[in-house]
């Protein structure tokens, strides 16, 4: 690992956000390189100092009591209608709130949308975990454990590392060359990550055994600008994640599904 790469990952290293292999590589480099070692020490000092010294601002006196009173007042006034906002405002600042009303309405839409996402914890958290694993593989430059375009090299590599077998197909002829495989984790479950490329874009195909019986149709999910498709077939979960456009990724999904 070189200095540039180490410097790029040093914050994530200090914050314990790197995967095991990335962390080991950084650790190895800073043990040998005085400049990067000094930078790591300085970052840790800043972190210790920030945690010890940053002011935790206390709430103003009586603030919590005022909030509680305001909640009870609001609830008592009009439980079904949108309650009048005056319930919690102080009269002396009323003019400012009036100016805020349109923005408050816009922000309210965001707030309403968010709990919707939270309502399906399992699918949502799997999607987050899969996208996070995809991002991690790009950030830490740890795309493959076994780099090979040969499906007969990649498939046996997983045997002995996973207690299930994964079928591996190269789609180079269709424009999605296989570049290798990686052992990854999705929500603490070991998963096979098959890595494909399309021009400069990386596609991670995660495969792990399904706990639910039955096949599940293809579903499209987007998270933080990444497209993902998931489905279940023959007792396995499949998640394809990429920053590819939707149409190209859909084509990839069809190839994978056509093959299994």
């Amino acid at each position: 690992m070189i200095c540039n790469e180490t410097m790029r990952l040093l914050d994530a290293y200090v914050d314990n956000e790197l995967d095991l292999r990335g962390a080991l590589e950084v650790e190895e480099h800073i043990a040998r390189c005085p400049a990067c070692g000094a930078e790591e020490k300085s970052l840790r000092e800043l972190q210790v100092s920030a945690r010890a010294n940053l002011t935790r601002y206390p709430m103003p006196t009586g603030f919590e009591a005022r909030m509680r009173a305001a909640l009870h007042a609001e609830e008592a006034q009009a439980p079904t209608e949108p309650p009048p906002v005056q319930a919690v405002r102080k009269p002396r600042r009323a003019w400012r709130w009036a100016a805020l009303a349109p923005a408050a309405a816009a922000a309210a839409v965001l707030v309403v949308a968010m709990p919707r996402l939270l309502q399906q914890p399992s699918e949502t958290s799997v999607a987050d975990a899969v996208v996070a694993a995809h991002v991690r593989s790009l950030l830490a430059n740890h795309l493959t454990d076994v780099a090979s375009s040969d499906q007969h090299t990649v498939k046996p590599w997983f045997q002995g590392k996973l207690d299930y077998s994964v079928s591996v197909t190269d789609f180079a002829a269709e424009g999605f060359p296989l570049v290798g495989g990686r052992l990854d984790y999705v929500e603490d479950t070991p998963a096979a990550a098959l890595v494909y490329k399309r021009a400069q874009h990386v596609v991670n195909l995660f495969v792990w055994p399904s706990k639910r019986a039955g096949d599940e149709p293809v579903q499209r999910v987007t998270r933080r600008g990444y497209n993902a498709y998931c489905w279940a077939r023959n007792g396995m979960h499949y998640w394809a994640v990429s920053d590819l456009n939707e149409a190209d990724l859909a084509k990839f999904v069809e190839l994978v599904r056509g093959n299994r």
Binding site: L10, D11, Y57, M59, H72, W97, L100, P115
Partner: protein, 176 residues
């Protein structure tokens, strides 16, 4: 109906202090922080029915953060750039404490607080959520609706600016 208030009080209000601290750091004075917190708590309560109950602290912090940005857009849009604010008012950046207490606080503590207060709000937010609330990159990404890579780069730039600012203040002997 009283159940709704009781359950809001039980789930959300324990995180009021964390929410206030975030608002105070984003807005840099008590008066605006209090206004924004009132608004945030009202909004949170109104939309409480849609909350699934999995992460009340993250939920409240998200509402507080959105309210604070709305307030900044309406009143202090200038602060939403990513310039380091050289003209931050140090009086505003300090908590309201007695002169005796202030004297006792180390120069390091004051200079770090002032340097964080002078960071652009997008960097200050990520730094405060990481170091004061201990949130992971992913939690910060979800809260601020930015990619994890952006969390990492903002945090990294915030720290470089803080290192430089603290070193400069220490060298020059006193806060400006």
């Amino acid at each position: 109906m009283a159940d709704r208030v009781a359950s809001f009080e039980q789930l959300v209000l324990p995180h009021l202090a964390a929410g206030y601290n975030l608002a105070r750091w984003l807005l840099r004075n008590d008066h605006d922080a209090e206004d924004v917190m009132q608004e945030a708590v009202t909004r949170a309560f109104r939309f409480f029915d849609g909350f699934s109950g999995t992460n009340a602290r993250g939920w409240l912090l998200t509402v507080v953060r959105n309210s604070a940005y709305t307030f900044l857009q309406q009143n202090r849009a200038r602060e939403l750039g990513t310039e380091f604010d050289e003209e931050v008012h140090t009086e505003d950046a300090r908590p309201s404490e007695s002169p005796e207490v202030l004297l006792l606080r180390s120069a390091q503590q004051r200079s770090l607080n002032e340097a964080v207060a002078a960071l652009p709000v997008e960097f200050r937010e990520v730094f405060v959520l990481r170091e004061m609330e201990g949130l992971s990159y992913k939690e910060i990404a979800d809260l601020a609706r930015i990619p994890i890579g952006t969390v990492m780069s903002r945090l990294s730039r915030a720290r470089r600016q803080l290192q430089a600012a603290v070193a400069w203040r220490e060298q020059s002997g006193s806060a400006p």
